[in-house]
């Protein structure tokens, strides 16, 4: 597979919640091994776009291709695709009744039929990778937000996904914990994990993203290589948005 091959290709995506048209003719391409950061004001449809990529939302029109397959109309078979896509949420959503380790082990054993000892070994290695091996037997409410989010990342990785989706992974965190989570995401990204990150962390976007997608009012306003985007040469509107958030 060539480095330039698109693992995700979205064309003309439209999505409404009742009368509210939240995604308008959105197109997006994510190349194998690359990291795309999606930014934009609140309510611009970033999170909805991410949820559509994981088939957690139904769409009105458009097509979504993933890994060379049209996944737009999978319906009840959507769970098969989701096994190959890891997702991390703003509010972590660790399963509250399970320990960190059990959270990570659950899906590989249940969904993929991985043998328990093997799944546990993988889970421990992943906790090592996200730098909290000592928290394996803690319950979510005994962990800090940053620790919970790192366990959530490990949980998604345990399914050995072909792509990771991060939905505002640091928005619910205290400032001192943001770095520990972003560092983990950055490491994965550098190791070649295809990633789509919805975030407000501009420094992170500048450092880690290969491309930046700027959305507003449900449209993709700008989609450019990171350096170009931050130079502000790609679009007027993106430039104004950058000025707003960088000077506040």
């Amino acid at each position: 597979m060539s480095a330039m091959q698109a693992i995700v290709r979205v064309r003309g995506l439209n999505k409404s919640f009742g009368d509210l048209h939240v995604l308008k003719d959105v197109s997006l391409k994510v190349e194998q091994g690359k990291t795309v950061v999606v930014i934009g004001p609140s309510g611009s449809g970033k999170s909805t776009l991410l949820r559509c990529l994981n088939l957690l939302e139904t769409i009105e029109s458009g097509t979504i291709e993933f890994d060379g397959q049209d996944i737009t109309h999978l319906g009840r078979q959507a769970f098969k695709t989701r096994r190959d896509i890891g997702m991390v949420f703003q509010n972590f959503e660790l399963f509250a009744h399970l320990t960190a380790l059990e959270n990570i082990v659950l899906a590989p054993v249940q969904v993929k039929g991985v043998a328990k000892p093997e799944a546990v070994a993988t889970a421990r290695a992943l906790l090592e990778k996200v730098r909290i091996p000592e928290k394996a037997d803690f319950y979510p409410d005994e962990l800090s937000g940053g620790q919970q989010q790192r366990v959530a990342i490990a949980r998604a990785l345990a399914m050995k996904p072909k792509m990771m989706l991060y939905d505002e992974p640091t928005s619910a965190l205290d400032p001192e914990m943001i770095k520990e989570v972003l560092d983990v995401i950055q490491d994965l990204s550098r190791d070649g994990m295809t990633s789509v990150v919805v975030t407000h962390e501009m420094a992170f976007a500048r450092r880690v993203a290969d491309r930046v997608v700027f959305m507003e009012s449900g449209r993709v306003i700008d989609d450019a290589p990171t350096s170009e985007f931050f130079r502000g040469t790609s679009s007027e509107r993106a430039k104004r948005f950058l000025n707003q958030i960088l000077h506040h």
Binding site: L56, F79, K80, D84, I85, Q110, Y139, A156, M159
Partner: protein, 244 residues
């Protein structure tokens, strides 16, 4: 009470022991099936299918809108006309379980709803099928919310089981009533039966406390425990308000 020892005599007599055992058995079996029915109705209510929702609403309307005693007599006397003939015991149990299901459904549903939507989304995002999401993520968390009120249902059911005396099941109350009508020793006979009921409700509350501690301990929690006395007040007080 000129013959107080008569209470003890009744209490230990084989007929009373048998009646009390039957009462306990009716309670356990009815609640067991009642929980299954409640779970089923709750899942129907939560379903996205409109017809299944309507089915659940119809069920609740029927079983909450008529007295439990009516349901017992109906199952015993009317169902045979439609070719469904059950023994006295099973008529009582089926009616009580179906009645209980209508109340358990609400308890199960509030437990299910207490599990946040994000938990289901996260499970789905891991590639779980809907039934796996339900079994591994939603139900175990809902259970912690469902257990305490279910203990109260147990106590309620114990008391409700006396109703099956109406279809001649020789449970505790009927035994006491029969014993008394032979010699008009109502005070002694009913006291003996009352002692059994109090013994059972107290035992249930102790067991419930254990189960709740287990559910908490299972999570590595060091939550506050409530005393048995608090439970008795809470359980009896709470259940007393229930209208059937």
């Amino acid at each position: 009470m000129d013959k107080p020892w008569l209470v003890v005599e009744y209490f230990v007599s084989p007929r009373f022991v048998w009646g009390a055992s039957l009462t306990l058995w009716i309670t356990v079996v009815s609640l067991f099936f009642g929980i299954q029915v409640g779970l089923l109705i709750a899942l129907l209510q939560e379903s996205k299918n409109r017809y299944l929702n309507a089915l659940a609403v119809g069920y609740l309307w029927l079983f909450r809108g008529t007295p439990a005693l009516f349901q017992i007599i109906f199952v015993f006397n009317v169902l045979p006309q439609f070719g469904i003939t059950l023994s006295n015991f099973w008529s009582g149990v089926v009616a009580l379980a179906m009645n209980e299901g209508a109340y358990m459904a609400e308890i199960v549903r509030s437990g299910l709803q207490a599990v946040g939507r994000g938990q289901r989304t996260a499970a789905r995002a891991l590639g779980m099928k809907e039934w796996q999401v339900m079994r591994s993520v939603v139900l175990p968390q809902a259970l912690r919310i469902i257990i305490p009120p279910t203990g109260n249902q147990f106590i309620g059911m114990l008391k409700l089981s006396a109703l099956v005396s109406a279809v001649a099941v020789e449970e505790l109350l009927l035994v006491a009533n029969q014993a008394a009508s032979a010699n008009f020793r109502y005070l002694e006979a009913l006291s003996a039966a009352g002692l059994y009921y109090l013994l059972f409700t107290t035992l249930f509350m102790l067991i419930q406390a254990r189960i709740e501690d287990w559910a908490r301990g299972n999570r590595g929690r060091r939550g506050k425990k409530s005393s048995l006395f608090e439970r008795m007040i809470g359980a009896t007080g709470g259940d007393g308000g229930r209208v059937r």
